[in-house]
C-alpha cells in the first residue's frame, strides 16, 4: 500500500515536471520588452488596479487583504491598490523585476543609481510633468527644492531626499558634570574634554577604561569625524572650488589637512576608541551605554528617549546631552553633508492608468493622505479632543498600525520618513527634546556645491561616500591619522592617485554639471 503510493507519487511528479518543461521551453523569449498597453478595465465602473512595488519600513507589519486603510484609499481614488513589499534595502529584487519586464505600475528605487538612470534612458518611466497640475504637493516640491532632479526638463518621479537631519554630537552630560567641565563649543575645548574623559575616570570606577570619542565603521569614506573638517572651514559636503574656480576634491582644501592633523593628534593621544572601526551602530551605542565612551556622533530624533532610557538602565545617574559640533578657529561648525540621494518613486510605462498612479503618489504625500496613513480614519482609529489625538489601539491593531500611536505600514519608508515631517505621535516621551535635536542637527547640515550626482560619480564615487575613489581616499585618510603615512606626503599622493584612477573623469563631469547649474 505504502509502496504503491510512492510509485504513484513518483510518476505524477515526473509528469508534472515534463509538462512544466514543455511550458517553460515554449515560452522562449528572454527578457521581454514591456508593453504599454492600456487595459480595458478602468474606463467603466471597475476600478483600475495599481501595483506598487516598494521597499517599505522594515519594521512595518504586513497589509492584510481586508485592510481598511487600503480600502479607504481605493474608495477615495477609485483604484484597486496592491502593495508588493520587498525587504527594506532589497533593491536587487526591484532591479531584477524591472530588468525582466515584470513592471509594477508604481515603483520605488534607489536614487541616484545606475539602474534608475538606465530606466530613464530606456524610456521605462513616465514623466510626471503632464500630471503635475493634479499633484499640488508633489508639484510644489519638484518645482521648488527638487527642481534639479529633472532630466532634460522631465520629472521622472518623486525624489525622497531627506531635508532634515538627526545626526548630532551626543555626549554623557553626567560625566561632564562630574569632571566639572562645560559642554565644549570649540575644537580646543573639545580636545580638553576628551582628554579629561579619557584620563579623569569620569565613571569613578578607579580604572582607566574610558575613551573620549568613539565612531562607527562605514562602507566607503568613514564620516565619523567629518565634523572636524567642517569646523576648520570645509565649505561644502561634496566638492570644493579651487583657486581657478574649478571643482576639486575636498581633500585638496586646507581645512581637510588641518582636520587630519587634529584627528591624528586625538588618535596618537588615544583619546579616540582604538577599535571604533569594529563598531556597527549598535555596538557603538553599546559602548556609550556601557560607559566606555563619552562622545559619539549619533542619530537622535526619536532615539533621544531610547538612548537615554537605555543608558539609565545601566547607569541610573546617566544623562544624555547633545550639542552643536565643536567650532573651529573661525567659529564655523557642521556635522554632515546634505543628502544628495535617497529614494525615488516613479510610474512605469506599463501602468494601466498613469493618471491614477500619479494621483495615488500625490495622495501618499498630501495632507489628506498623511492624515489617513498616520492617524487612520477618524472615529474608527482615533478621535480628536481639540488638538489632542486619542488613539484607539485596538482598532488600529486590526489594520496593522504600529503600536503606541505609530502609523500604518504604508506610512513610512518610501516617500517620507517621520523625520522629514518632524512627526511624532503625542504618545511619544521626550518629544520636545527629540524635536530640538532635529533643529540642532538640521542647522548643522553642510550644503553641497553641486546638486546632481553625475553618472561618473555613481560609478566610481567621489571623496565622501561610496565607490572605488572614496575607498582610495579613505585608505589614505586612515593611514594619515594613524601615522602610517606622513600627512603632506599622503595628501600629495592621494591627489595624484585619485585623479589617475578615474578622478579626472569624475572631475570633468562634475565641472560640467557645476557650470550647468550656475546658468
Amino acid at each position: 500500500m505504502k509502496k504503491n503510493n510512492k510509485n504513484r507519487f513518483v510518476s505524477i511528479l515526473c509528469l508534472i515536471l515534463i509538462v512544466a518543461m514543455i511550458v517553460g521551453c515554449s515560452n522562449n523569449s528572454g527578457g521581454k520588452s514591456p508593453q504599454s498597453s492600456s487595459g480595458t478595465d478602468g474606463e467603466g465602473g471597475k476600478p483600475v488596479k495599481i501595483v506598487y512595488l516598494t521597499p517599505g519600513d522594515s519594521a512595518a507589519k504586513p497589509i492584510q487583504p481586508d485592510d481598511r486603510i487600503i480600502a479607504e484609499i481605493n474608495k477615495r481614488l477609485g483604484i484597486e491598490l496592491e502593495i508588493k513589499f520587498v525587504p527594506e534595502g532589497g533593491f536587487e529584487k526591484v532591479n531584477v523585476a524591472m530588468a525582466t519586464g515584470d513592471f509594477p505600475d508604481l515603483v520605488t528605487a534607489q536614487y541616484p543609481s545606475s539602474s534608475l538612470s538606465q530606466w530613464m534612458e530606456e524610456g521605462l518611466l513616465v514623466p510626471l510633468n503632464d500630471y503635475l497640475p493634479q499633484m499640488p504637493t508633489v508639484k510644489e516640491k519638484l518645482e521648488g527644492q527638487f527642481s534639479w532632479t529633472a532630466v532634460d526638463g522631465n520629472y521622472y518621479g518623486y525624489p525622497f531626499i531627506e531635508e532634515k537631519s538627526n545626526v548630532s554630537m551626543t555626549y554623557r552630560a553626567d560625566w561632564l558634570k562630574t569632571l566639572n567641565i562645560a559642554p565644549p563649543t570649540t575644537l580646543d575645548e573639545f580636545y580638553e574634554a576628551l582628554k579629561a574623559i579619557t584620563n579623569g575616570d569620569p565613571d569613578q570606577n578607579g580604572q582607566k577604561d574610558t575613551y573620549g570619542l568613539t565612531g562607527t565603521k562605514e562602507n566607503g569614506f568613514n564620516t565619523s569625524f567629518n565634523f572636524v573638517f567642517y569646523a576648520y572651514g570645509l565649505p561644502y559636503g561634496d566638492w570644493i572650488l579651487d583657486n581657478d574656480g574649478k571643482v576639486a576634491p575636498v581633500f585638496e582644501h586646507p581645512a581637510f589637512k588641518s582636520g587630519v592633523e587634529y584627528i591624528q593628534k586625538l588618535w596618537k593621544e588615544k583619546l579616540i576608541d582604538p577599535e571604533f572601526l569594529l563598531n556597527d551602530t549598535q555596538q557603538r551605542e553599546q559602548k556609550f551605554f556601557q560607559s566606555k565612551a563619552g562622545f559619539m556622533v549619533a542619530n537622535l530624533f526619536r532615539h533621544v528617549n531610547r538612548l537615554e532610557k537605555s543608558l539609565k538602565e545601566l547607569t541610573p545617574a546617566g544623562e544624555l546631552g547633545f550639542i552643536n559640533p565643536p567650532a573651529g578657529p573661525e567659529g564655523k561648525h557642521g556635522m554632515v553633508g546634505k543628502p544628495k540621494g535617497g529614494l525615488f518613486t516613479a510610474i512605469t510605462t506599463k501602468a494601466k492608468d498613469p493618471e491614477k498612479a500619479a494621483q495615488f503618489l500625490e495622495f501618499m504625500l498630501s495632507p489628506e493622505g498623511r492624515e489617513l496613513l498616520e492617524l487612520g480614519i477618524e472615529g474608527v482609529h482615533y478621535t480628536k479632543d481639540g488638538d489632542k489625538v486619542n488613539y484607539n489601539e485596538e482598532e488600529r491593531a486590526k489594520d496593522n498600525f504600529a503600536s503606541n500611536g505609530w502609523s500604518h505600514p504604508l506610512a513610512w519608508g518610501n516617500v517620507v520618513w517621520p523625520l522629514t515631517r518632524n512627526y511624532l505621535p503625542n504618545t511619544e516621551a521626550q518629544a520636545d527634546r527629540a524635536k530640538e535635536s532635529v533643529e540642532i542637527a538640521t542647522s548643522n547640515l553642510v550644503p553641497n556645491l553641486v546638486n546632481v550626482t553625475t553618472p561618473e560619480e555613481i560609478e566610481m564615487g567621489g571623496v565622501f561616500g561610496k565607490g572605488i575613489l572614496s575607498e582610495l581616499a579613505n585608505q589614505y585618510y586612515f593611514d594619515m591619522i594613524s601615522g602610517k603615512v606622513d600627512i603632506d606626503k599622503g595628501l600629495a599622493e592621494l591627489s595624484k592617485k585619485w585623479r589617475e584612477q578615474g578622478g579626472d573623469k569624475v572631475l570633468a563631469a562634475v565641472n560640467a554639471a557645476y557650470e550647468a547649474q550656475q546658468k
Binding site: V10, S58, A59, P62, T281, E313, L314, A402
Partner: protein
C-alpha cells in the same frame, strides 16, 4: 578490543578531554545568545560574556511571539522545509542511484553536465523569467522548485550509493527485481546514513533560504521566517537615521530571541536524523 592497555586508556582519556573541550567551546555561541535573549538588557550589557543570568525575563520572546507575522512565516517555512525536502529527496535519490551506476551509457557525460551547473548559471534574470512563466511568483513553489536538486547533495548521495556492493543488487536482479525495486529494497536500506545526512542538508538549507524569498516573494503573507527574521536582525542604518518605528529598546535581547525562535525548530530535527549515523556505529559496537 585493545581497550585494556595503558596506551589505550591514555588515548581514551585524551580523546574524551579533547572532545569535551571543543564541545564546550562550540556550545558557547549558542549558550551566550540564549542567555542574552532571556536577560534584561541592563544586565546583559554589563559584561561581554554571558554564562548565567541573574534575572530571567521573557519580555523579548513575548514581543516576538506577539507578532502575527511570525506565525504565518512559521507556516510558510515549515511547509517549504517539509514538502521541499521530501520532493528534493525523491528526485535526488532517484538520480543519485542511476548516476552511481558506472556502466550506464552516458552517465559520466550527464554527471559532467550536472556539475557544470554548479559553476555556471544564466544568472538571475532568466531564472526569474522561468519562475514567472511557471506562475510561481508569490507562491511557496517559488521557494521549492528552483532549488529542488542541489548538486552538492546529489554528488554526496551518489558517492554513498556507489559503495553499496554490486553483488547485492545482482542477487536481487536474479530474483527478478526491477531497478526501482532494487533501489527501494536493497540500496535505500543500506544508505540510511546518507539519506539522513542529505535530508538534513536539504532541510536546513530550505529553512535558511533567504535570497530566493527576496526575489520571488513580495506578499508578506508568504514571507518565510528568514525574511521576517532578517528584518529584526539587520542593524538597519535607514531605520536609525530616520527614526522608523522599531522596537530597539529591547535591542540585543530581541535579536537573540529571534535567533532562538528561528533556529530552535530546525535544530530539533537533528537528533531525529542523528539516529541513523549513530546506528551504523552501534551495530559495529555490538559486534565488537
Amino acid at each position: 578490543m585493545d581497550n585494556s592497555g595503558l596506551g589505550a586508556k591514555l588515548f581514551q582519556a585524551c580523546n574524551y578531554t579533547f572532545l569535551g573541550l571543543i564541545t564546550l567551546l562550540t556550545l558557547f555561541p549558542f549558550w551566550d545568545s540564549l542567555i542574552v535573549s532571556i536577560t534584561p538588557i541592563s544586565e546583559s550589557m554589563q559584561s561581554s560574556v554571558h554564562l548565567f543570568p541573574k534575572t530571567v525575563t521573557f519580555e523579548a520572546y513575548e514581543y516576538i511571539v506577539g507578532m502575527k507575522q511570525l506565525w504565518s512565516s512559521y507556516g510558510v517555512s515549515i511547509f517549504v522545509t517539509v514538502a521541499g525536502t521530501i520532493l528534493s529527496m525523491i528526485v535526488t535519490t532517484l538520480a543519485a542511484y542511476v548516476l552511481s551506476k558506472s556502466y550506464l551509457p552516458g552517465g559520466r557525460a550527464i554527471m559532467f553536465l550536472i556539475v557544470f551547473t554548479m559553476m555556471f548559471s544564466g544568472g538571475i534574470i532568466p531564472t526569474y523569467l522561468v519562475v514567472k512563466q511557471l506562475g510561481m511568483m508569490n507562491t511557496v513553489w517559488a521557494l521549492i522548485m528552483p532549488l529542488m536538486v542541489q548538486t552538492y547533495n546529489l554528488i554526496i548521495m551518489r558517492s554513498f550509493m556507489a559503495s553499496v556492493p554490486e553483488s547485492l543488487e545482482e542477487a536481487a536482479r536474479i530474483d527478478g527485481c526491477g531497478d526501482f525495486r532494487i533501489l527501494v529494497r536493497v540500496v535505500l536500506p543500506l544508505s540510511l546514513p546518507a539519506i539522513a545526512t542529505v535530508s538534513l542538508f536539504y532541510a536546513v538549507a530550505k529553512w535558511n533560504e533567504f535570497f530566493t524569498a527576496v526575489m520571488y516573494i513580495t506578499d508578506k503573507d508568504v514571507w518565510p521566517l528568514q525574511l521576517f527574521m532578517r528584518a529584526m536582525l539587520i542593524d538597519n542604518e535607514a531605520v536609525y537615521q530616520s527614526g522608523g518605528d522599531s522596537p530597539f529598546l529591547l535591542g540585543q535581547s530581541i535579536k537573540m530571541a529571534s535567533i532562538m525562535v528561528s533556529t530552535i525548530p530546525v535544530m530539533l530535527i537533528y537528533p531525529f536524523f542523528q539516529r541513523y549515523f549513530v546506528q551504523g556505529a552501534t551495530l559495529g559496537a555490538v559486534k565488537e
